[in-house]
Symmetry: C2
């Protein structure tokens, strides 16, 4: 029998009515002839409740204990869905991470999946066509035998990794939207659902702010070639609508130059004025930031008129802004800059498309279009298949709409 | 280091404030020099929530899935208590049943503990004096690797079994009362806390309606000679008050004839009128009831005046009453009785004491005292260390108070 992995997030299993709806989606695929593994998240709100208790227990807490507490949420959903499936005549059983096992690293709270043993689930498929209901977001760290969680959104990763281990035909990610859009439909009403998007593009979109899939799950899907289908859990289970298939570039016939426009508000800008323009000065700034695990993204260096000093601008995640500022202020005597300026009311707008590889001047068009609308670009980064611009947050919607139209993405 | 097992029930860990209070009790024992294993229940109300979800999922549900869902409650408490202990500087880690492992039978929902491997916890005691916080009420069924629960109240059993496996000096059961009383203080204001009670007496008390400990846990304590101490979790952790020690009869110097008066409302009476007085008739009644797993307790047979028929009266648990009635009505043609009468407004009042072994006429005094107060006794059973009387429920308090005074149990 061909195999299918289906994944349902927290809002899709928020209560028993929603879980019954999930069971009907599973039933449809079982009847279509698939052996099915379903990966589930905790019921919406449950993870937050468990996290709040851990914080109430102690603001500083052992990540291993946090994991033991928080992983219970998925365990509950898996058992409940197995019960509901059985009640409609579908053989099913729940699996916790340690029972499969899903082996992870020991980085509790943000563990990585090291390997999944698909043999037990496969045996149950073959012996009795039993649906495997798998608790997402968790595994076991083998050397200690303790439960480790993958961090928020980790259930997507669980699903894709399980699909790879089971050699599933596809991994269907059911979510509260019906697919991947050319941009955020809340900003651009003419945004279109994409039928297909390549792994590379999806990876950029996820990294650049599109929240539909977790970055790590897209990386895994690309690495193992898992066809991943994003679709809505709110459809009628007997008549589901199409979603977005994430697949190899070669499987996409009609390739656009630009596939989507993403934006991320999770940015902060730091500018160091009049830094001594000497060899090693960049290292004196960026090595300490890297050591503090602060991810620097865009970097611009502008040589000042006196040719002896330079201004250096770069971006860090908004959550690391305060920490980065404090660190650089402490290092001021060592780096030797004159002043530090920061801004958090900035946004990064990006255009993504594998077609950029073969088309020159794609980004240049954007710079001109935005300039025409009076949008000031603070920084730019580019890669083979995307370019990003840092702008004032107030211009976010204008910039996104301008680019969406510019690259012909508006729906007819 | 001597070892101690401490067990805290649902009301003792109902919220983070209560869990912090538990941590202070643990801290006191650690400072007193014990290596401590703490067994915890789910936070009060949590098990009911999880059970309600299972029922909402399906009224008929797979007991293995029910166990996977319900066992999560204790896991959460164990993790939270470990976090709180660490926050006050006490090394601690949580253990789920499968991690120890606590091996159980495959009777999901009411599994029996088959064995506990204390070696891992012992190693942590020896290496780092780390408190083991153990999720009660659960274990793992080794052949399937699935979580099995021991049924309601099973955390007491977890604690006593763990104390046996770890060769603990004592097992302290913290509860919402401060010990075992001569009778229910809500009925008899002069009821006294017992300093000590023998395993045999406690077993009878638990079986006969005293709810302070689960029967199975007392059986285990007796079997393995685990000194079990019932005490209050609501005491000031720095100044705890005495409780009741359950121990060998030999360890109790001043033995009373009667130690306690118990009562149970969980009784129903069935009388079959004019049953043919022929060999095998008793079997025709009680074998089918036994096959239906209905526990028959008291049995009285009264030969009628015509010497050809007999009236048979017996009791069953109130929860099995309807089922027993239906079964016997179906069997009427085969048994051949004339009529069936039932009563659920009955109560079983019992007096327990190992001193009865060496004192004659203990029960006879009770029959006379109750007759003097106009209490009609419907049925009587006796054993070596207890006797029980079935009476009308309306006389419960009167009978309990009469017996409590009669055997000199009233506090001065």
């Amino acid at each position: 029998m061909p195999r299918l992995v289906m994944k349902f997030g927290g809002t899709s299993v928020a209560d028993l009515d929603r879980i019954r709806n999930v069971a009907r989606h599973v039933e449809r695929e079982v009847k279509a002839g698939y052996d099915v593994a379903v990966v589930v998240s905790a019921m919406a709100g449950k993870t937050n409740e468990l996290v709040a208790w851990c914080r109430e227990a102690s603001m500083i807490h052992d990540a291993r204990e946090y994991d033991a507490v928080v992983a219970s949420g998925e365990q509950v959903t898996a058992g409940l869905l197995a019960i509901v499936l059985q009640s409609i005549g579908i053989p099913a059983r729940s699996w916790q991470g340690w029972q499969i096992p899903i082996e992870t690293s020991g980085a509790h709270g943000s563990a990585r999946i090291l390997g999944i043993d698909g043999s037990k689930i496969s045996a149950h498929f073959e012996e009795r066509r039993e649906v495997a209901v798998v608790a997402g977001f968790q595994g076991v760290h083998a050397p200690t035998g303790r439960i480790a969680t993958l961090g928020r959104g980790g259930s997507d990763t669980s699903a894709v990794a399980l699909a790879a281990a089971l050699e599933a035909e596809r991994c269907d990610i059911y979510t509260d939207v019906d697919g991947v859009y050319t941009t955020d439909p809340r900003i651009v009403s003419k945004a279109k659902r994409l039928d297909k998007v390549s792994y590379e593009e999806m990876l950029e979109m996820a990294s650049l702010g599109a929240k539909v899939l977790q970055v790590r799950s897209v990386e895994l899907a690309m690495l193992y070639g898992v066809k991943t289908y994003v679709r809505s859990s709110f459809d009628d289970p007997t008549d589901p609508k199409p979603g977005t298939l994430i697949c190899d570039e070669e499987d996409i016939v009609e390739q656009q130059t630009v596939t989507g426009i993403a934006y991320s508000k999770d940015e902060a800008q730091i500018t160091l004025r009049r830094v001594a323009d000497t060899p090693g000065v960049a290292a004196s700034i960026f090595v300490p930031l890297a050591d503090a695990a602060i991810n620097v993204d865009m970097i611009i260096q502008v040589v000042s008129r006196d040719h002896a000093t330079t201004d250096i601008t770069f971006t860090v995640p908004a959550g690391d802004y305060a920490r980065a500022r404090t660190l650089l202020e402490e290092l001021q005597p060592k780096i030797g800059y004159e002043s530090l300026e920061g801004a958090t009311d900035v946004v990064k707008v990006s255009a993504i498309g594998v077609g950029m590889r073969s088309h020159a001047g794609v980004a240049a068009k954007a710079f001109k279009a935005l300039a025409d609308k009076g949008v000031n670009i603070r920084a730019i980064t580019t890669s083979e298949i995307k370019f990003s611009m840092l702008i004032d947050a107030a211009y976010t919607e204008l910039a996104v709409r301008t680019l969406h139209s510019l690259y012909g993405l508006d729906a007819a």
